[in-house]
Symmetry: C3
Subunit: 212 residues, 3 copies
Amino acid sequence: MTPLTVDAFLYGLGIAASVVCGATGVLEAGRKQVDLFGAITAGVAASLGGGTLRDLLLDRQVFWIADQAYLTATILAAIFTFFLARRWTVPGKLFLIPDAIGLALFTVVGTQVGLQFGAPWLVASLMGVITAVFGGLLRDVLTNEVPLVFTSELYATAAWLGALALIALQALGLDPVSAGFIAMGVVFAVRLAAIRWKITLPRLTSGGNPPT
Amino acid sequence: MTPLTVDAFLYGLGIAASVVCGATGVLEAGRKQVDLFGAITAGVAASLGGGTLRDLLLDRQVFWIADQAYLTATILAAIFTFFLARRWTVPGKLFLIPDAIGLALFTVVGTQVGLQFGAPWLVASLMGVITAVFGGLLRDVLTNEVPLVFTSELYATAAWLGALALIALQALGLDPVSAGFIAMGVVFAVRLAAIRWKITLPRLTSGGNPPT
Amino acid sequence: MTPLTVDAFLYGLGIAASVVCGATGVLEAGRKQVDLFGAITAGVAASLGGGTLRDLLLDRQVFWIADQAYLTATILAAIFTFFLARRWTVPGKLFLIPDAIGLALFTVVGTQVGLQFGAPWLVASLMGVITAVFGGLLRDVLTNEVPLVFTSELYATAAWLGALALIALQALGLDPVSAGFIAMGVVFAVRLAAIRWKITLPRLTSGGNPPT
């Protein structure tokens, strides 16, 4: 038996992911010369967007309305990042590290919520991918960037592999907390390896479909 | 009495529409050099987006969470289309045909769901338009295309005319299945005629509103 | 005691806001040469988008499905504006005035709905901001404009200050209708003053974050 209950584990992951994504939203919005409020909005969208869509789809109460801690943590992280980023230059590449951490954290939270809700495994793994990917997608659309999920090396794929690992490990008898840590490692390692060695899924060949 | 029950009819239409829109999503995403996962995401968005918004608005259970067949059919169609499109060049114009078929199928499904839910006729017809149009809109926004619904010849209008036909024919006593086939014909014919003869609704004259 | 009940006050504000935002949606879409149906869609998105998101998040019944008056008022306003805008040139700057009015009206409606729903004050004020801002954001994304909320002088901030004023004044014992009028004045005055004197929140300095 682990010293950590599953609920406390998921709660901690959720708060940590909110802080991290609140920061990445500000960093990305910051490149567009938005003001403080726009930056906070991008942080909140990145942080709460994925879980909100998951809860709407599952018809659960939206997690940050039930408990204000997520919203508070996100806004504080966004404000802190905003003033920090005005003083220190953040290299563009560095942005991909917290983004990958947020991806890993939210994959585990989202998948586990899906499982506890009784969703079948394919839907539960998709809930993990949605929770992990949709917030960043919203952040990218709001700031007029091409969404990372559409262009990047193994982004949603990394999340999906982590979600499947989480489900499979528990089916094999592992406790949710240990399975959660391993699954986070899977997402983070796959994503960083894909960035480092430019691993991509097959693409449609260029010129295959002329534009209409 | 028709040999086909209304529920079986709607179920068949829904699965067929999922397959068709899963394919159009991949074809459009394919022009942007996205990878396999991005293509599947665009297919899933095109296929399930409209019905998801309809179910959220009506506070029904989201249709593809209750029954995994829609999700499975969409993903299989998307993967099949992806590998097919890597081998054969799909002319851009051809894309508009399956898009029109998806529009016709989803209009009938969405409107009928709205009617069975007890929505008043104006809201029910709007549910048909939303189901038909929103998935493609999501696909277009995700792939950074100007949404077809905003620029194209009688797109939402075709869906709306079909939805009104479906409602009116049933009010006149026709059974839902026959009315559904006629309404699908209306959507498909109006849309293709509009493309063929460039029929459009009135536009604001150019220069009428200088940009701010 | 005021001669106006709170429910009648909120209903009147909601209908007025629907009319105003239905018009701004058409004016903005009109710059993109969309057709009548596209213009109506942009108007409906601007008008009903914010309240719809609020109702989905709070798990309330979506307001315009329960009562068709909002939808009817929006569509009539959009059609009227469309044909008016074909005859008279609307100067671009003028667009910002009805946009500010819609912002003020929806802030009060959204915040008050949040309070009556029993949401804590921070969430209630956010519901006001969401109701006020999300419709216009949707309108801007659909018409491929950079969202006003991200670039403009004190846009969401104006809404948030008004929401806080509404909550604080009622906590001090003022009746909701009087507090509502004052809060609308706050939003409108802050927004117009910010446009007039180019008041902005602090921004990230340019060059602080090189693009990836």
